[in-house]
């Protein structure tokens, strides 16, 4: 499948190219164009997969089905829009002397590399490579988090690195155990770690081993998903890095890590035949949602605030997949989509807001609507959307998740609802003061990129009111795969 080659090749080569030319004035556009091409490749791949169904490629090294192809498209799309947003954003940063030429090179090439690792993690068929790719994603972003070289950013990057490194190491142990189970179940050598084979043979895998393996994998990848109490790196990393990176971290990395967890869950369910994996995920999800909701109230940094909100939503989605079943999985996938879109849109708006105010401190950002209505309304509407107010897609997803929970795990719903209410009060109170009131912000040298923000929000709005039939079918297929 040539699309796959393009999909993975473009960002890889782009990374190499930008590593040399990345400091030129036109580099941001180049970056955006590359991402755009990647997105086109992703679309082509999607079309192909929808037409011909799940496929493996390059002697089973890659495997694409409805589940990951939809994440591939989403990833490529957000990668593209984020690059668009990054164009004016990084220019401003550069004009303000916050980053130098080297940093720009690093930023652009790492951006492409990060995209590459994401796509690799999504498309690979080998659980080992999946691990490698996720570790690679950490490595690609860790230097970007500390791009500004401020003490805070260094600290954030360090924590990000160590915690995710340790987590991922546990995941590796899990992978090894998985390999053990698989090889005992008759898989020979290299093929034993191939998802397709594992999935085929999941019935014969030794339950006790798989159980332990799943624990390691869950804790490992869960660290990257940001499940409490393994989430501690996340707010720091999101808050201190440049905003485009925060956007892709929140919008993509978490999704991909969750994708890994879900793949593992499928195997675990198959092997154990119990609901253990699901229960663990539900437990993590619930704890995450409740804790993060209470964290939200104390934030003073705009990006940190939304980082916590990402944690909360990841908890929600994890809970949904933990419950399992057609509707819950459907809702989980939908929630992944809308959360990525909305949250990245919010980060775009928040990034420009912070640039305008010259600070990320919430108390110093005031009256955005007066200075630039686009950013102000973008932030406001995005916030309302992410807080789960209709008619946005997030509400649709949360509606389905909550109602499924009411039907199947009624005990959990009060916690979720209280958390939702607390989160709403916390986030909205802060955003309102930033958007409204007397302006304290100054105009930017470059026009803010309002387009990506509103494109995302419009998509989310549409998804809240109407889910196109083929998209729904697509989700359903993926949901049925997750089981």
């Amino acid at each position: 499948m040539s699309e796959l080659a393009f999909l993975l090749g473009i960002p890889l080569l782009g990374a190499a190219a930008l590593a040399f030319r990345g400091s030129q004035y036109r580099a941001p556009e180049m970056n955006a164009i590359l991402s755009g091409l990647t997105f086109l490749a992703a679309c082509a791949l999607t079309v192909r997969i929808i037409s011909i169904g799940p496929r493996t490629a390059m002697n089973e090294l890659f495997f694409v089905d409805a589940f990951n192809v939809f994440l591939v498209t989403l990833t490529a799309f957000i990668g593209f829009t984020t690059a668009l947003f990054g164009t004016p954003y990084m220019r401003v940063e550069r004009d303000r002397g916050k980053v130098g030429a080297g940093a720009m090179r690093l930023y652009h090439s790492m951006y492409q590399l990060f995209t590459f690792t994401m796509l690799l993690a999504l498309t690979t068929n080998n659980m080992g490579i999946l691990w490698v790719a996720l570790e690679g994603a950490t490595l690609a972003t860790v230097l970007l988090v500390s791009l500004y070289r401020t003490p805070a950013s260094l600290e954030a990057a360090w924590k990000y690195f160590i915690l995710c490194g340790v987590g991922i190491a546990q995941a590796l142990f899990g992978t090894i155990l998985l390999y053990l189970a698989a090889s005992r179940a008759g898989g020979t050598g290299g093929e034993a770690l191939l998802w397709t084979h594992l999935n085929a043979a999941k019935g014969q895998l030794e339950p006790s081993v798989v159980a332990i393996a799943f624990v390691f994998l869950l804790v490992g990848y869960g660290t990257k998903v940001g499940l409490a109490p393994l989430h501690n790196w996340l707010p720091d990393a999101h808050a201190e890095g440049p905003t485009p990176i925060s956007a892709v971290l929140s919008g993509l990395l978490l999704n991909v890590a969750l994708y890994a967890v879900i793949r593992c869950k499928v195997l675990a369910d198959g092997a154990l035949g119990t609901h253990l994996a699901g229960n663990l995920m539900m437990g993590f999800g619930l704890l995450t949602v409740v804790l993060s909701a209470f964290f939200l109230g104390r934030q003073t940094d705009i990006k940190r605030l939304f980082a916590y909100s990402s944690i909360e939503h990841m908890g929600f989605i994890t809970f949904a997949f933990g419950m399992g079943g057609a509707i819950a999985n459907f809702a989980g996938l939908l929630h992944m989509t809308v959360h990525s879109l909305t949250k990245s849109a919010i980060f775009f708006a928040a990034g420009h807001a912070a640039q305008k105010a010259g600070t990320q401190n919430i108390d110093d950002i005031r009256g955005l609507v007066h200075m630039s209505p686009a950013v102000g309304w973008g932030l406001m509407i995005g916030t309302l959307a992410i807080l789960g107010l209709p008619p946005f897609g997030v509400f649709a997803a949360e509606f389905m998740i909550l109602t499924t929970a009411m039907r199947e795990h009624a005990w959990a719903t009060p916690f979720l609802l209280v958390a939702l209410a607390v989160a709403f009060a916390a986030v909205f109170g802060k955003v309102q003061t930033m958007v409204f009131g007397d302006p304290s912000v100054r105009p930017l040298p470059h026009r803010p990129a309002a387009l990506p923000v509103f494109v995302h929000l419009v998509i989310v709005l549409i998804l809240g009111l109407y889910i196109p039939a083929h998209l729904a079918a697509w989700y359903r297929e993926a949901a049925s795969m997750i089981g």
Partner: protein
Amino acid sequence: MIVTAQAINFIAALLLLVAFAMLSQRRIRALVNLFAVQGVLLTASTLLTASGTGQTHLYYSAALTLILKVFVLPLILHRLVRRLQLTGDVEMLINTATTMLVGIVLVIVAFNLALPISEFAGTITRGTLGIALACVLLAFLMMITRRKAVAQVIGFLSMENGLFFAATSITYGMPMVVELGIGLDVLVGTFVFGVFFFRIRETFDSLDIHHLERLRER
């Protein structure tokens, strides 16, 4: 066959010993050396397993280990230590005795965790899984107890070693492509660490990570 198994078990025991040594070791240079020793032991055990079982790809991974974990990484670390003049002790958060006690507890936990798995595994080296797991946990503990960035990194790397050892011991190593990938990641990771040391150093003029406790909820 039996001989190799015994030899491997012996090496495994040595590994555990080294792990404890690292846990208690206060001097950075010595820590790096111990890490190198760990690498040597790993290589040896991998070679033994390879010869004992005829798993040819294990030779490659043994070579990989030798290059990466015995020469490259220790060299990088040594150069870093020299460049950053990281002499002197690494003070710990908890005193050595306590750390040791906790370590022993961890070993016990690791063993009875590994028991069912190693029963299930069919390899000749399965008995060593417990030790591998113990190494991982001990490295984890080391990362927790140390306050110098370098020490944490070494802990991280030795955790990698433990994992590697586990892989060889229960499944005769991972598929080659995965091994390569892991190796690459570890290598890059170390470089990145290096970069970090310099940045941290130039920002805080010390590698003591208690400088890195600013970002918190108030």
